[in-house]
């Protein structure tokens, strides 16, 4: 078992796809990096924190992007975003069987905030273009940085979300919420609270991810294979169903609960028996809860 969370981006690419099949566009040797970091005294990276290219998954052609959380938390800047958009537009042209996003990102790279914000919105539109053309977009979330901010929105704009129990998917990071509204609102150092609020188990129980897997590269590969032909239709009916689900969830959860009871109250209302046990269960145990 090899931890997906502990692999850097290129190792994930090497181990997830068929051996030797990943072919990178604009690899580090081409030195395509951010023009904005030097003035902040921040070192740049020759891939701007993302590798994009084509690969094979069990022989089938796919396009892929892997964000490198080790560089600026996987933040999306001008160049990083443009590489994602270029890969997605190329998918529209060349029609691979699917596009996979190996998300590892805190969202917009604040060091080039304005350019990053626009870039993430361009990624969103490009993802939806690819889906509208009938090519599924799959996102894998299981890194130490998780998938936050604009990338958390992008993830939910895809067809299929795979997470591990150590993965996190959300909008604002706990640190940002704590900095804005105080430690009483969200204690960013309370790891159990952070995972109950944003972690893979919670996202699985609430249906925000489609598959929950162990923190294991082989498990992610199997999940990606299972997801290859999964499409979430973009129709008015599908949007109405999503709207009903989200409205119902909002009405289920009373306001004013504290951090110790909030997630457990929501899980109970979703029909989970003995919700207080969830944090102690292993992945198989949590998976069984939703199937039941």
């Amino acid at each position: 078992m090899i931890s997906y969370a502990e692999c850097p981006a290129r190792e994930r690419l090497a181990r997830l796809f068929d051996a030797g099949s990943f072919h990178e566009w604009l690899p580090p040797a081409e030195r395509v990096s951010s023009p904005h970091l030097a003035q902040l005294g921040v070192p740049k990276s020759f891939d701007d924190g993302v590798a994009v290219g084509r690969a094979r998954l069990d022989g089938r052609p796919v396009f892929v992007a892997a964000q490198e959380g080790g560089f600026m938390g996987g933040g999306v800047g001008e160049v990083h975003g443009a590489k994602l958009v270029g890969m997605l537009r190329r998918a529209l042209r060349d029609r691979p069987d699917a596009v996979l996003l190996l998300a590892d990102s805190g969202g917009v790279r604040l060091h080039e905030a304005n350019a990053g914000l626009i870039a993430v919105s361009e990624v969103m539109r490009a993802v939806l273009d690819v889906r509208a053309a009938g090519i599924p977009v799959i996102v894998l979330i299981g890194s130490a940085n998780g998938c936050f901010g604009g990338m958390g929105i992008v993830a939910r704009c895809t067809d299929f979300v795979v997470m591990s129990d150590v993965g996190r998917l959300a909008m604002s990071g706990p640190e940002v919420i704590e900095a804005s509204h105080g430690v009483e609102e969200f204690d960013a150092r309370d790891r159990a609270l952070v995972w109950r609020t944003t972690g893979g188990k919670h996202r699985w129980l609430s249906g925000d991810c489609d598959l929950l897997v162990e923190d294991d590269v082989a498990a992610f590969r199997a999940a990606a294979l299972a997801a290859l032909d999964q499409r979430r239709p973009m129709t008015l009916e599908a949007l109405e169903a999503e709207h009903a689900l989200l409205s119902e969830r909002l009405n289920r959860l009373p306001e004013g609960l504290d951090g110790d009871e909030e997630a457990i109250t929501l899980w109970r209302s979703l029909g989970i028996a003995e919700p207080a046990r969830v944090p102690d269960l292993d992945v198989d145990g949590v998976r069984a809860l939703r199937a039941a």
Binding site: W25, L26, V32, P35, Q39, L40, E78, V79, A82, K83, V85, G86, R89, R90, V108, L110, H111, A113, N114, A115, L117, I118, S121, E122, M124, R125, L128, G150, G152, I153, V154, A155, R156, C157, M171, S172, G173, E175, V176, I177, A179, S180, E185, F186, R196, T197, R203, S206, M234, L236, L239, E240, H243, L246, R249, L250, L257, G259, E262, L266
Partner: protein, 233 residues
Amino acid sequence: MDWNTLATRLFGEGHGIAAEGDFLQGTVSFDGTPLTVVGTTNHAPIGVKVALAQARVVLDTMAQHPGRPILLLIDTQGQQLRRRDELLGINRAMAHLGMCIDQARRRGHRVIGLVYDQALSGGFITSGLIADACYALPEAEIRVMRIPAMARVTKLAPELLEALSQSNPVFAPGVANYVAMGGVRALWEGDLAAALREALAHTPTEDRRALDGAERGGRRLAAPVAQRVLDAA
């Protein structure tokens, strides 16, 4: 600009837009044609509830009035920064709002965004930034995050960030920078109704923002880097 002043300048007295708390909604008549207006005011934080309220209006417009143009009026302090909203999957609600707007575009609705006061991050990315194009009033402000929170996340000194926000276009909150980067198509000045008329008639439906950013010199690498990926061996 106050939303009601804006609405009156665009659509005249008795424009038909109403505020319910921070939420704006209405059907207006513009040049004799009905138009859906949806948005927020009072620098609204966009939580799950407000995102869903906006999505509802877009869904109803698609179902009941195929092809009717939609104007998004944007004034937000960004996404709601609350633990409860995170637990409820605010990112999923935001994505839903963005996908409703995107779907409206694909079904032939013109969708125009207008930042009339302020726009921040999550509240902007699933409204104006996913419209056919976004416009702004000259006095509006667009930014990603307030400086104290930014300093905490980036571990850069607040003084350095404050200085950059005065001078650096990729950092500074002014709308002119967003125009230069292509994120805002143009500023609306003078006759606002004429500006809306022009936008409804001539806004492109494809995403031109990277090309605009390159032509205007505010975001020089986005378009050529994407093109290099397309051309790579």
